[in-house]
């Protein structure tokens, strides 16, 4: 069943809810997104916008109290992941979808050496040829600039942050998965290490012919490595398209605001502008209407009642009532 | 943005919110309400128990070790006194000693832990050695030895001694808590703002440890109750007819409750009281974390 080529992924109308004292609240509100085979897709969004939830959904691994309420996740060669259960699901994880954890810093069992955990992984997936697995792992680590032998013999606490992250990537790839999901792979790292990891992600992606999903809240990181970029806000994908285009000519007011809020190293520093208001949390996401309208400079009457449908035009998808329409913006309150 | 309106009465509404929050936390699980009910019942017995019965408790010379009946739900003791009345009137001593112990344990443990954790350095070393020492001393054996010297005539005295023998665990834990808390931004900020140490400790550090301290306090109450009841049971503490431990002792060693059924209710009544109180406290402890954490409380 193992594929040797990059799979495509199609997420359709995915709704994920978390059970809270206030009832079941949607962390993802009908997200549709497709990853073209062999591309690196980035998802950017602020904290709580549902990025990790979406990433976990790709492995049908949303943790209680959350659950996938509706929608589907089709992965080439696997079918609808949402319907997978039990052993089937477990085997898909690791084998077909590699996952690099949000906190890959701590994604290793502190009591076992990396090598032993690798062997556990091999056994879990019924690998007969464990020495070959070790060899692959050493090669992968070597490819990422590490001394494979030494790393396999090390415990987590003996590795630096950057090394752990590389080990995390190795674990995601060593079973020859062709879909790799990286959740905030560089968040806790400093700049130089981050640059190195991003380079590795990009290189490995090309060498192995993967489909890669990389999740980050740092626009710069996404811009650096991705081919296509999706922007999330309040559990919705508000804009999706080729990276250079999304960055170069953002269409959704949120994307625009985000990009404008990034200070630059060159050019006029005062061009940077803060986005007013604050991002919603699970409890404050509006039940109806556009989730961004409170902060939107282009808000129109319909935004209050109707959730804008994503509209795809020239390979770019935008979910906004105001895009491409003449608008009478309602000026939002400054702060709060 | 000019502000001229007088300030909202924030503190008052806060306090009300606190109790409303507590109510909310308790209502979240029915078991907690049960726990509160049990604890309230015991507190009620502790305060009003002795007033419910005549003093001295009536005796019935013709009904020694009587079996349970409507008049005596748990039978009577060796003198013909109603066992239930003994348990009810004995609650006060038990609770008082428990409370005294808890207060001393927690106060001493918190104080020493805070001092050690907050000042670090030499203070820390000295206080921690002291704590180690306290933890190294075998407590129950020492109590046995002490009880030959010390006549624990009042529950408070009992509490003092039990407290002195039991603060080590809390001190150590509070120290490690305050060590980690002092690295937290808000403590540093308070220092940087030049706020006095008293403020930092009392207003900033302590409230953050409140759930922890409250939980320990409740656990210390139960621990103290067991220790003292146990010592009375061993018979090394002064006699008091309505003391639960004395009841256990007399029922077993005087009445033969473990050998025949005649005195069994006399044994079971204090045992049940202990079990019930334990249950109540266990159920209440469950809510402590949420009560003191504003985030969990308000949710």
């Amino acid at each position: 069943m193992t594929r040797t080529s990059a799979p495509g992924v199609r997420v359709k109308d995915l709704t994920v809810v978390y059970k809270t004292p206030a009832g079941e609240l949607p962390a993802l509100g009908g997200v549709s997104l497709s990853l073209a085979p062999g591309t690196i897709t980035g998802i950017v969004g602020e904290s709580g916008s549902g990025k990790s939830t979406l990433a976990l959904s790709l492995l049908n691994a949303v943790q209680p109290p959350g659950r996938i309420k509706e929608g589907s996740v089709e992965i080439d060669g696997l079918g609808n992941v949402v319907e997978l259960t039990g052993e089937e699901l477990r085997r898909a994880r690791g084998r077909q979808v590699g996952y690099v954890f949000q906190a890959a810093q701590n994604s290793l069992n502190p009591l076992k050496t990396v090598g032993k955990q690798l062997l556990d992984l091999g056994r879990s997936h019924d690998f007969d040829d464990l020495p070959a697995l070790l060899k692959d792992a050493r090669a992968l680590l070597g490819r990422m600039g590490l001394d494979g032998g030494r790393v396999l013999d090390s415990y987590q606490h003996e590795l630096s942050g950057g090394m752990r992250q590389r080990v995390g990537i190795m674990f995601a790839l060593v079973l020859n998965a062709h879909l790799v999901v990286l959740d905030e792979p560089t968040t806790a790292l400093d700049m130089i290490t981050q640059a190195a990891i991003l380079k590795i992600v990009r290189d490995v992606h090309h060498e192995r012919g993967l489909t890669t999903l990389i999740i980050t809240h740092d626009m710069g990181v996404a811009a650096e490595v991705t081919d296509s970029l999706a922007v999330m806000y309040g559990g919705r994908v508000v804009e999706h398209g080729p990276t250079t285009e999304v960055l170069g000519s953002p269409r959704h007011p949120y994307t625009k605001g985000l990009i404008r809020a990034i200070p630059r190293l060159s050019g006029d520093i005062d061009e940077a502008r803060a986005l007013p208001g604050r991002p919603p949390t699970l409890g404050t996401i509006p039940k109806q209407g556009c989730v961004f309208r409170e902060r939107c400079p282009m808000r129109i009457a319909v935004c209050d009642t109707v959730d804008p449908e994503p509209v795809t035009r020239d390979a770019r998808t935008v979910a906004c009532h105001a895009v491409g329409r003449p608008a009478t913006p309602i000026v939002p309150k400054e702060y709060v | 943005m000019t502000v001229t309106s007088p300030v909202a009465p924030a503190p008052i509404s806060l306090r009300r919110n606190f109790w409303r929050g507590v109510g909310r936390v308790l209502r979240r699980k029915p078991s907690r309400m049960v726990g509160v009910a049990i604890v309230v019942l015991f507190v009620f017995m502790g305060i009003f128990g002795p007033l419910l019965y005549p003093n001295p408790l009536p005796r019935d010379d013709n009904a020694l070790y009587a079996s349970p009946s409507w008049a005596h739900p748990f039978g009577t003791d060796f003198e013909g006194t109603d066992v239930l009345a003994l348990v009810v009137t004995g609650t006060r001593y038990v609770l008082l000693a428990g409370l005294a112990t808890a207060v001393i344990t927690v106060a001493l443990g918190t104080l020493i832990g805070l001092l050690a954790g907050f000042h670090r350095g030499r203070w820390d070393t000295v206080l921690m050695r002291l704590t180690d020492l306290q933890l190294t001393i075998p407590g129950l054996p020492l109590l046995l030895v002490l009880s030959t010297v010390w006549k624990f005539t009042s529950p408070i005295e009992m509490g003092v001694v039990l407290g002195l023998l039991g603060w080590g665990g809390i001190a150590r834990a509070v120290r490690s808590q305050s060590l980690s808390l002092r690295e937290r931004g808000f403590i540093e900020a308070a220092k940087g703002l030049g706020l006095p140490t008293r403020h930092i400790v009392v207003r900033e550090l302590l409230p953050s440890m409140a759930p922890y301290i409250a939980m320990n306090m409740l656990i210390a109450v139960t621990g103290a109750i067991y220790a003292q009841v146990g010592l009375f049971f061993l018979g090394v503490l002064p006699f008091d007819a309505n003391n639960w431990g004395v009841m256990l002792n007399l029922s077993v060693f005087g009445g033969g409750a473990l050998s025949s059924t005649a005195a069994l209710p006399y044994l079971l009544a204090p045992l049940l009281a202990i079990l019930l109180l334990t249950l109540g406290i266990v159920l209440v402890v469950d809510a402590m974390d949420e009560i003191f954490n504003p985030r969990l409380r308000e949710e």
């Binding site: 960055l247 803060a274 | 000019t2 937290r184 931004g185 900020a189 940087g192 703002l193 030049g194 953050s208």
Partner: protein
């Protein structure tokens, strides 16, 4: 005006009977902040930035060197007499979540230092309340909404503003902002940065800005000084814009090269420098501290510790200084 000279700090990591491991966090750092000025420190993780910030704010002791606050050398005072001086320097923590006491409302949080202030200046309770509102308004949040609330009820941006307002209660002259926006939502970051910038202008407070992110350093302190710190040592310093556009030290160049490029808006700098290996605390302390990682190192680098040399404006500690153009440039659309 605050001058720090030759600050060193070595942490003794708790060891056992046979001795402790020493971690040099700062190896002699000098800098000066003018009133209303801005000084930025950048460097990799673990380079000693936080340590420096805490020392300047009087929250950490230092081993040698001196800090002179308004002409008074701190070494001339007993530790307990230093507090009034250090109070003028307030630290804004990186993490607004832990910088506010979760068990106290914002009102309580602000009231404590204000009460102290009121007592010192002989003002009453009314002043305190008014001042709290004034400060919150100053940092751009609605006092009526914020005052009765607990920190967990506020967003990261609001919290950081409250932290700043709290620092302002004691009328500080310097704000030390240690990674002050790194934990705030992207869309709110600039708001806080703008606030700091605004405060500099309006209240004439100086800002000592500590960051990974050179772009934000440029945003706040574009007109100030930039110090690049590596393993406890300043390896390059100078006017911010000048260092950014013309870094001389290979370490500065590496840092700047590592900045992600907004493809589509920018393109990478032409002369990116990539270190040959990762930061390792265990690297030797002799010679240039950066030598092991430096793509341009020579044998001399491994033997000789370069001193900080200045051309009057920009200073660097490199034996083979060469200006390189590494930062991304605006893409021509």
């Amino acid at each position: 005006m605050i001058t720090a000279s030759g600050i060193t700090k070595t942490y003794k990591q708790r060891g056992n009977m046979l001795g402790a491991r020493a971690v040099p966090a700062l190896r002699g750092v000098d800098f000066t902040i003018e009133k209303g000025g801005a000084v930025t420190f950048i460097g990799e993780s673990g380079c000693g930035k936080t340590t420096l910030g805490r020392i300047v704010a009087g929250l950490e002791t230092y081993d040698s060197g001196d800090i002179v606050i308004d002409g008074t050398p701190m070494s001339s005072l007993k530790p307990r007499h230093r507090q009034p001086f250090f109070r003028r320097i307030q630290l804004i923590h990186q993490d607004p979540y832990s910088a506010l006491n979760p068990t106290r409302t914002i009102h309580q949080t602000l009231a404590a230092p204000l009460a102290l202030r009121a007592k010192q200046t002989g003002r009453g309770k009314a002043w305190m309340e008014e001042r709290a509102r004034e400060l919150l308004a100053l940092v751009g949040i609605d006092p009526g909404y914020v005052l009765p609330r607990y920190p967990h009820q506020l967003s990261g941006g609001m919290r950081q503003r409250v932290v700043i307002a709290r620092a302002l209660t004691v009328d500080p002259e310097v704000l030390v902002a240690d990674e002050s926006v790194s934990m705030i939502d992207v869309s709110l970051r600039l708001g806080v940065l703008a606030l700091l910038k605004d405060l500099r202008e309006r209240l004439d407070v100086s800002v000592l800005f500590i960051t990974h992110d050179i772009a934000t350093a440029r945003y706040i302190g574009g007109d100030g000084e930039l110090y690049v710190i590596y393993r406890g040592q300043v390896v390059e310093s100078g006017p911010t814009e000048r260092v950014i556009s013309g870094p001389v030290h290979p370490y500065t160049q590496s840092l700047l090269s590592a900045i992600p490029v907004l493809h589509g808006v920018e393109r990478p700098g032409p002369e990116r420098v990539v270190p040959t290996e990762a930061l390792n605390e265990a690297h030797s302390d002799t010679g240039c501290l950066f030598a092991r990682r430096c793509p341009f190192r020579t044998d001399r680098c491994e033997a000789e510790l370069p001193a900080l040399v200045s051309d009057g404006e920009q200073a660097h500690a490199c034996l083979h200084p060469q200006r390189r153009n590494v930062i991304p440039v605006e893409a021509v659309a």
